[in-house]
Symmetry: C2
Subunit: 156 residues, 2 copies
DNA sequence: ACGGTGCTGGGCATTCTGTACAGCAGAAAC
DNA sequence: GTTTCTGCTGTACAGAATGCCCAGCACCGT
């Protein structure tokens, strides 16, 4: 577990220019094609690279509003709540956490008004005791991984 | 803005099997290759599909601990805090929000002990008044987009 | 009736992929 | 010191995919 400097450069390269193939990547990195292929295979079977799925922007789909909801769950209802939330398309992500709430989920909605509908649907479930929502205004740092990859690569 | 049913099927197909190319996708969808190519180009220039970058798992990089930190910021220090947090590799994501706190950020760390170091680094900045952290225990719904894509496709 | 748009099905040259092989260097084991 | 492993290099080849072009056709709004 862990990546070396070449792995790091490969991941960063792929992140910056996803369209390039193995051959082009090998040219950019200055190594043989077989090396890039072997590294890629290893990174994928390692689980470091989960895949190359399309990164879809919810805003472009018509869901420009993002919010985070902290949920407080009635004891013993955890798995029911999980299943309920998994069935709501606007729930993009769900975590169980320590701290104030029991769960934290990321929501999207078509508008601030539509967010009310989404929240009603989310919390309209008996296992949920209380919910507090924070609407996202700006996103100064979009979900990123490159800085972490570079750090991991330089450490070994 | 908005996608039709074919766009939706294309995105879902690509999400499930990212390695397939345009030709294979056209076979699966039962349409001509040119159509898939045109749709893909449109989705990308629309911004619906941002790209096909590698999805890297922080846990596999040696950062298995995830946490969300709610930050309270001293008035007028917002941009300084943003710049500070953007410089911390373990900050994967940063949002400014309404509600209790002023900012919400996603952190990763090598261990619970290491999380302390990360948090110290994050909050060790004068503009930050207070921080409360929730450590992620489980992730019942990993970041997903397919259900939303399907909903958008069936409405759109 | 008309032009515009989008899908189809085909063709072509170029390029990439998957796979295999032999050579070679460094590290680890004996 | 010598053997053995592992990983990288450089090359080769057949098969497949890509980028690009074009003509035909159906649908839609003007």
């Amino acid at each position: 577990m862990g990546i070396d400097e070449l792995d790091g450069r490969l991941i960063v390269l792929l992140a910056r220019e996803p369209r390039i193939g193995v051959l082009e990547a090998s040219r950019r990195l200055g190594v043989a094609r077989g090396t890039v292929q072997a590294r890629l295979d290893r990174l994928q079977s390692n689980g470091v690279i989960r895949g190359f799925g399309p990164q879809v922007d919810p805003a472009a789909l018509g869901y420009p509003v993002t919010a985070f909801a902290t949920l407080e769950i009635k004891q013993g209802q955890g798995s029911d709540v999980r299943a309920h939330l998994a069935g709501v398309p606007e729930v993009l992500e769900l975590h169980t956490t320590t701290g104030t709430g029991d769960m934290l989920c990321r929501l999207v909605a078509r508008s601030n008004a539509d967010l009310q509908r989404v929240i009603d649907r989310v919390v309209g479930f008996e296992g949920i005791v209380r919910a507090s929502t924070a609407i996202v205004m700006e996103n100064p740092v979009p979900l990123r991984i490159i800085p972490l990859v570079e750090q991991a690569a330089h450490e070994g």
